[in-house]
Symmetry: C2
């Protein structure tokens, strides 16, 4: 009998798949490897979730969700200073990146992103049967000018970038759009921790899409919710590409509550940025080279202690960070900004290891 696997697209059968960061069960492990927010989400979001364990909640759950998330789009538009028609909802911003890929990239097309950067973009290219091409950042994490890959079907630009935590100025992004002959996706997963964002490029009518997530700044990685901001006509096309009901009723309600609680967001940001400053400072005192971060993690390397054994030693102590290697760069550690206590535990362990 023919194996059903023999019918897979060859691209799929041969691909390795994206490996997410490790997810141990809740317990003694200190997780500083996947850039989750160290603090619980807005109480308003939890209250919205709890409201579903009621007869009225049951009545809502037996029905299909609002396919476009009208209430969320209104709340997000108010919070961000855009119009509801500028917004499409996603089951995490990964869903949004998939929708954009399927909308813009034909089989045999090209996906471009700078490197080192988010590893998922290559997976999206493989899934779509597209070529993946990277453009190295300059030594100080800027874009090369002129940009050497102008004809991409889609260009992904994470800003702030991971693993570096660096940001590009709006002027350098504008300069990139002038050179591209295709859409630019500005992946702002970490923008809630930066000093600015690219929403005004959407307002200016540039051919860009800005994507956002609730997994980082809003502390709701378990909820799977993200969205994109773009030209309303483009949004109406993207809606055709998404699953009709890609966001569930509970996550829509929780995300609407969370984005309406900007006070929580700003207070959380204040806490994370204070700890980020301390973490960067103390890592530097331990001799690490620390890239100045605009996100909720720091990227560091030690000149005399290679990253792989540091990663393993931390793991043996129950501290997970992300070991990342982008040749020709030496491997480095991407360390999520945790609580003050978690950061103290990490720094004490590193002090023993490199002291």
């Amino acid at each position: 009998m023919t194996s059903i696997c023999s019918y897979l697209r060859p691209d799929i059968a041969s691909m390795a798949g994206y490996t997410p960061g490790e997810q141990p069960k809740v317990g003694e492990i200190l997780k500083l490897n996947t850039n989750e927010n160290p603090y619980p989400p807005s109480p308003a979001a939890l209250e919205a979730i709890g409201s579903f364990a009621t007869p009225r909640g049951a009545e809502l759950l037996r029905r299909y969700p609002d396919p476009v998330g009208v209430d969320f789009c209104k709340a997000a538009a108010g919070a961000l200073g855009v119009r509801p028609e500028n917004i499409i909802i996603g089951n995490g911003s990964d869903d949004i990146l998939t929708i954009l890929t399927r909308a813009f990239v034909p089989q045999g097309g090209t996906i471009v992103s700078p490197t080192p950067s988010y590893l998922l973009y290559e997976t999206l290219a493989r899934l779509q049967g597209a070529r993946f091409v990277t453009v190295p950042f300059t030594d100080n994490w800027q874009l090369p000018d002129p940009w050497p890959q102008r004809g991409a079907s889609i260009t992904f630009l994470p800003n702030p970038n991971s693993p570096s935590g660096t940001v590009l100025s709006l002027d350098s992004i504008r300069r990139l759009t002038e050179q591209l002959n295709g859409p630019l996706i500005i992946d702002e997963a970490y923008a809630d921790f930066a000093d600015g964002n690219a929403l005004e490029l959407v307002r200016e009518g540039l051919p860009v899409v800005v994507t956002r997530t609730f997994s980082k700044g809003y502390g709701l990685a378990g909820l799977r919710f993200g969205f994109a901001v773009a030209d309303p006509t483009l949004i109406s096309h993207l809606v055709k590409v998404k699953d009709s009901y890609n966001c569930d009723t509970i996550s829509l309600a929780a995300a609407t509550a969370a984005i309406s609680d900007q006070h929580w967001l700003l207070e959380n940001r204040r806490l994370v940025l204070a700890t980020r400053a301390r973490l960067a400072n103390e890592l530097a005192n331990l001799g690490f080279e620390v890239t100045p971060s605009h996100a909720n993690f720091v990227w560091c390397r030690h000149p005399s202690h290679p990253a792989p054994p540091l990663y393993t030693a931390l793991k043996n102590e129950g501290i997970l960070v992300r070991l990342m290697h982008y040749p020709p760069h030496a491997p480095g550690l991407r360390i999520t900004v945790g609580t003050e206590a978690g950061t103290s535990r990490l720094l004490a362990a590193l002090a023993r290891l490199v002291g």
Copy 2:
């Protein structure tokens, strides 16, 4: 300035998109148009949801979900008599159908399904840049033998079918697999209301995938949860195609609780089937031609009252059913099995309209 929409794949720019059934706000409207379960979901599912409005819930929500849903797969395997490795989780079974399409169908490939059937299959074909070909059911809702489209990249077979509510025997599905030169996806969205299912074809090693949803039998359309059952090696390939975290922590917990409560499922099924029998019987008494249903809806036409004005008259009374037209068949009404009270209201309205 170039419009960002000019960069869309032509397939996407020109497509119409799938139109889901209407979703009015909760209120006086009697919704019998999208085959939602008329009863609230298992209390165990609601309790699982409520548990997230707590500090421990908050801790889980700030983290990413389990990417493969280990606990759900174990519970589902126990309930269905398969192995956990046979299962892949989805953000609704629509997500599963998208994953299967992306895994098996190249751009320019072919997707086949019988007709009249689920309208989403054509949308999936358009999104993938594939050709969509339909094969008419025979007059008594069986498959033509020989099957005329053997070379499809993927063949979708809904069983029970919508809008007819009819089922095919396992032998006729086996016969179809013998003729196909590609995978057969058996879409069992409505199997919880039928007398059998095709899981044993997976156990037999046939090149089939069985898909399931929590939107119908489990009364959780708002939760977005579905899964597929297939060969474990195929499952490991499909996992590469899905978004890493396609299911959120709350829906995983609720779905695990719901599938572990098979007592609720059987009791709900008993209620829905009793009302289905009454609905079919009374529709027949009103002169409707009613196709015997194995799902939670009935498909009917009246020989002297065309369906479109009946649909409109019901809508004007606040009763939504689904008007469906598959030429060369005359238009018909697909009516979801509601509560006893809702069914009485529908039947009273129809009695006035056709009496």
